[in-house]
C-alpha cells in the first residue's frame, strides 16, 4: 500500500469528523429533477443534506422555508446544514429550474 494512502486511511480511522454524520441525506439533481424528491427526517435533530448536481448546468438549491440558498456548480456536490427542525414539510427547489426541480423535506 502506498504510504499516502495508508496515511489517509489512518487519519480517516482516527478522526470521527471524517465519518459521515448521522442524519445525512444524499440527493442529486438529474435532468433538473431532485432524486429523491422527498426525504423523511426526524424532528429536533441536525440534518445534513448532500446534493450532487449531475447536470451540465449550474443550479441553486433554494428554500425560503429552510432559509437556505446555495449555488451548485455543474458536476459538483454541496453540503447544506439544517435543523433542528419542528415537524412539518419544508419545500425546496432548484431555483434555476423551478418548474421541474422541486422537492420536499418531511420532518416527523
Amino acid at each position: 500500500m502506498r504510504p499516502a494512502l495508508l496515511c489517509a486511511l489512518l487519519i480517516g480511522l482516527a478522526s470521527p469528523a471524517l465519518a459521515e454524520e448521522p442524519n445525512t441525506y444524499h440527493l442529486s439533481l438529474k435532468d433538473h429533477h431532485f432524486v429523491p424528491d422527498m426525504i423523511e427526517a426526524p424532528a429536533d435533530s441536525k440534518l445534513v443534506l448532500i446534493i450532487k448536481n449531475e447536470d451540465p448546468t449550474p443550479d441553486e438549491f433554494d428554500s425560503t422555508q429552510l432559509r437556505r440558498e446555495k449555488v451548485i456548480p455543474p458536476g459538483k456536490e454541496i453540503t447544506v446544514l439544517v435543523g433542528p427542525l419542528k415537524p412539518g414539510s419544508y419545500k425546496f427547489v432548484g431555483e434555476y429550474h423551478e418548474d421541474t426541480a422541486k422537492g420536499v423535506l418531511l420532518v416527523k
Binding site: P56, T57, P58, D59, E60, T64, Q65, R67, R68, K70, V71, I72, P73, K76, E77, I78, T79, V80, L81, P84, E95, Y96, E98, D99
Partner: protein, 273 residues
C-alpha cells in the same frame, strides 16, 4: 423567455433596491451619477469573476465557502452603510443650512460617495453573480434560442431597474426637509438587514447557533416568497421566520448605528454652539 426574465428579475431586485435608496440618499451630491455608475460597472465585473470562480469559492472552508463569502460581502456592506449614516448625521446641520440657502435637497451632500459606490458594487457583485450563473446555464442548456435569452435577460434587468427607479422617485416625493432623515433611517435599516442576513449565513455554515430558530413565524401574514415580502426583506430586512441570532444581530446593528449617530450629532451641536 419569461421564465428567464422572472429569475433574472428576482436576482437583481436586491441590488436595484440598494441602488434606489443610495441614489435618493445622495440626491444633489455632485458626481453622484459617476460614482454610482462606477459602482455598478465594478459590480458587474466582480459578478462575472465570482460566477467564473463559483466552483472554487464553493469548495473553500470545507464546502462552506459560499456561506462565508456571502457573510463577508454582506458584513462589509453593512459596515460601510453604517459608517455613511453616521457621517450623514454628523454633517446634518451643515446640510440643513445648505438646504435653507439653496432650497435644494442635498441629502448626503459631499457624503463619502466613493463609499456608497463600493456598497453599490458589492450589492451588484453578490446578487449579480447568481444572475450571471443562471443565464450562463440557460445558454448552455440550449433550450432557448439566443434571442430569447437576450430578451429575457433584458426584460428581467429592466424590471429590476424599474423597481429601483420607482423607489428612488418615491423617496424624492418625500419633502426636501425630511428626505435626509428618511434616507438615513432607510440606510440604517438596510444595513441592519444585511447584518442579520450575514448572521443567517454563519448559522447556515454551522459556525454559529441560531439560538432559538425560528423565533417566530409570520409567513402566514407576509411570506418572503411574495413580492412584497421579498421587497421588504431587502429594504428593511423583513424575515418571515428569523432565528433569534438574526433578530439580535439586527437590533444590535441598528442600535449601534443610531447610537453612534446620535452621539456624534450631539457633539457636533455642542461644538458649534
Amino acid at each position: 423567455m419569461f421564465a428567464t426574465a422572472i429569475i433574472v428579475f428576482r436576482e437583481v431586485l436586491e441590488m436595484a433596491v440598494v441602488v434606489g435608496v443610495i441614489l435618493a440618499a445622495a440626491e444633489g451630491a455632485p458626481g453622484r451619477g459617476r460614482w454610482v455608475g462606477l459602482g455598478i460597472a465594478g459590480g458587474v465585473l466582480g459578478a462575472s469573476l465570482v460566477a467564473a470562480f463559483a466552483e472554487k469559492i464553493s469548495d473553500l472552508a470545507s464546502g462552506m465557502g459560499q456561506e462565508y463569502f456571502n457573510t463577508a460581502i454582506l458584513g462589509f456592506a453593512a459596515l460601510l452603510i453604517g459608517w455613511t449614516v453616521v457621517w450623514m448625521k454628523s454633517h446634518g446641520r451643515e446640510m440643513a443650512a445648505k438646504l435653507k440657502a439653496t432650497g435644494k435637497a442635498v441629502a448626503a451632500g459631499e457624503a463619502p460617495l466613493h463609499m456608497l459606490a463600493v456598497v453599490v458594487g458589492l450589492a451588484v457583485l453578490r446578487e449579480g453573480a447568481e444572475a450571471v450563473l443562471f443565464v450562463y446555464g440557460v445558454i448552455l442548456s440550449d433550450k432557448e434560442g439566443p434571442m430569447a435569452v437576450v430578451a429575457g435577460t433584458a426584460l428581467g434587468l429592466g424590471g429590476g431597474a424599474a423597481v429601483g427607479f420607482a423607489l428612488y422617485l418615491g423617496l424624492l416625493k418625500v419633502s426636501a426637509r425630511h428626505l435626509f432623515g428618511v434616507t438615513s433611517t432607510l440606510l440604517a435599516l438596510l444595513a441592519s438587514g444585511m447584518a442579520a442576513q450575514a448572521a443567517g449565513y454563519l448559522v447556515a455554515a454551522g459556525a454559529l447557533p441560531g439560538i432559538i430558530d425560528p423565533l417566530w413565524d409570520s409567513s402566514w401574514l407576509l411570506s418572503n416568497d411574495a413580492v412584497m415580502g421579498r421587497l421588504l426583506s431587502v429594504l428593511v430586512g423583513y424575515q418571515d421566520h428569523p432565528s433569534a441570532l438574526q433578530v439580535l444581530t439586527y437590533a444590535a446593528t441598528l442600535a449601534a448605528i443610531l447610537g453612534l449617530a446620535k452621539r456624534i450629532e450631539k457633539t457636533a451641536t455642542v461644538a458649534r454652539a
